[in-house]
Symmetry: C2
Subunit: 274 residues, 2 copies
């Protein structure tokens, strides 16, 4: 197989990164993708940098066995704390979700006040602030960790109830008070609560979903590096492969809901072996 025909490797702590994969499929449909979800060790959002770095390295070793041509860190927490270190160890292009999200927010804001919501580890890393203020020191960035959003999405049961609305209202109230006009959904699960977050923040606040911009950035990167797949994928071939570290059932359901695409070829692997 030619290098350009090789798959893109995408990974996340679990199912959240499927929102990034969905954008990749939409924007670059001619590419093969291998997705890994670390469902046996999910979530990453309240774990330490060292642990997430170790997990990310294991996953990249696994993805390399699938001969991927590039890697997408489709998890904000891993992008926040592990990406820069991993990039130096890698012999292929790698992109995360932070920079694309930060750039979009900079373009979107009119009053210079940007909010970012994410996991504890992502928000504590202040990485969105660093990126944004490196590019424009006049912008204000206000972060807020929303640790219950991931379990709310994963369980699903309360997502449409007043309970989710109350939790979200509580988390978002300070950002509203600060008068931000742009809000980065800094966790790949959050686009699945987009409607509720939008209702609470109000129409005047632009919600930035880094998944969209990440897929755009990936397309650009493949072009730059001459890695775009030019050869048509046969109708009979399934261009998407899914791997998880825990059982496949629950993941498959989630994947098929998010992607509206069959994930029946999902396989479980022992990630600690890598």
């Amino acid at each position: 197989m030619q290098r350009a025909e090789a798959p893109i490797g995408v990974f996340d702590s679990g199912v959240g990164g499927l929102t990034v994969m969905r954008e990749i499929i939409r924007q670059i449909p001619k590419e093969r993708v291998v997705y890994f979800g670390d469902t046996a060790r999910v979530p990453y959002g309240n774990k330490s940098r060292d642990t997430i770095l170790k997990y990310s390295r294991q996953i990249i070793r696994f993805l390399k066995t699938k001969e991927v041509k590039t890697i997408v860190v489709a998890c904000n927490t891993a992008s926040a704390v592990a990406l820069e270190e991993i990039r130096g160890e890698l012999d292929m292009p790698i992109i995360g979700v932070i920079k694309p999200g930060a750039k979009t927010a900079i373009k979107a804001t009119r009053n210079g006040k940007i909010g970012i919501i994410g996991t504890e580890t992502t928000v504590r890393s202040k990485i969105y602030s660093h990126f944004i203020q490196d590019l424009n020191p006049n912008l204000t960035v206000i972060g807020k960790a929303c640790p219950l959003f991931v379990p709310l999405v994963e369980e699903g049961e309360f997502l449409k109830s007043s309970i989710a609305a109350e939790i979200a209202t509580h988390y978002l109230k300070d950002l509203k008070k600060e008068g931000i006009d742009t809000l980065i959904l800094g966790c790949t699960h959050y686009p699945l609560m987009r409607k509720l977050i939008g209702q609470i923040m109000g129409e005047q606040v632009i919600l930035v979903n880094p998944a969209y911009e990440t897929a755009r950035g990936l397309k650009e990167l493949l072009k730059q590096k001459g890695l775009e797949n030019q050869k048509e994928i046969a109708e009979s071939e399934n261009p998407y492969a899914f791997y998880v570290s825990d059982t496949v059932d629950k993941f498959q359901q989630f994947a098929e809901n998010i992607l509206t695409y069959s994930a029946e070829n999902t396989m479980k692997i022992n990630i600690e072996d890598y």
Copy 2:
């Protein structure tokens, strides 16, 4: 060191098992304890049997390096899906939290209707029903998974708010309707929400905390096996050691709150190496 002077090994997916350790310290203060919390892979409650079995085996291999004389599986999910298999592989006594909790509930019920709340994996295993109905087939056991309780306890922020009350009311409403008179808190985190659960269920419902009965069972087991520590522990010695798979800081805080005891000697280890 004599076998009887060796420590007891206690493990859990994270901090929840500290409620069991608290009871052990209260009821058998003359024993040394080594606690392991798998904070890098927490939670276990929505993961598969195979994954939990693998993790439990790794942890037991680690505890054996600490020369423990017996093992307490202070996690309902691991007790539910891994204990029986592990027992056969082990050359020392091991106890979990399920049987002690089930026995207490049988003694407590007056109308024969017992409720059990726990994680998805624990409730799906139906292990409490099996134990209870083996001992008395006339009893009715009704299980309900409460997957948001663990993140609510771990995050803490909403525990005293109306949001926690609404979530708990929602989860518990069917058990209330069924007219249970006894409710097993089938997850080691739940005793930390005991007051709220009691308020919702009402005074007539007895709440069973398996931690208490597990410590009693452990005391009995050590006696039977001639493993009780007879020798006074020196004032200068710290009889409690704590190990975790992720960073120590957050764990230490939690441990000191639950145990009202210093956990400053907490150490991080790489559990995947075992």
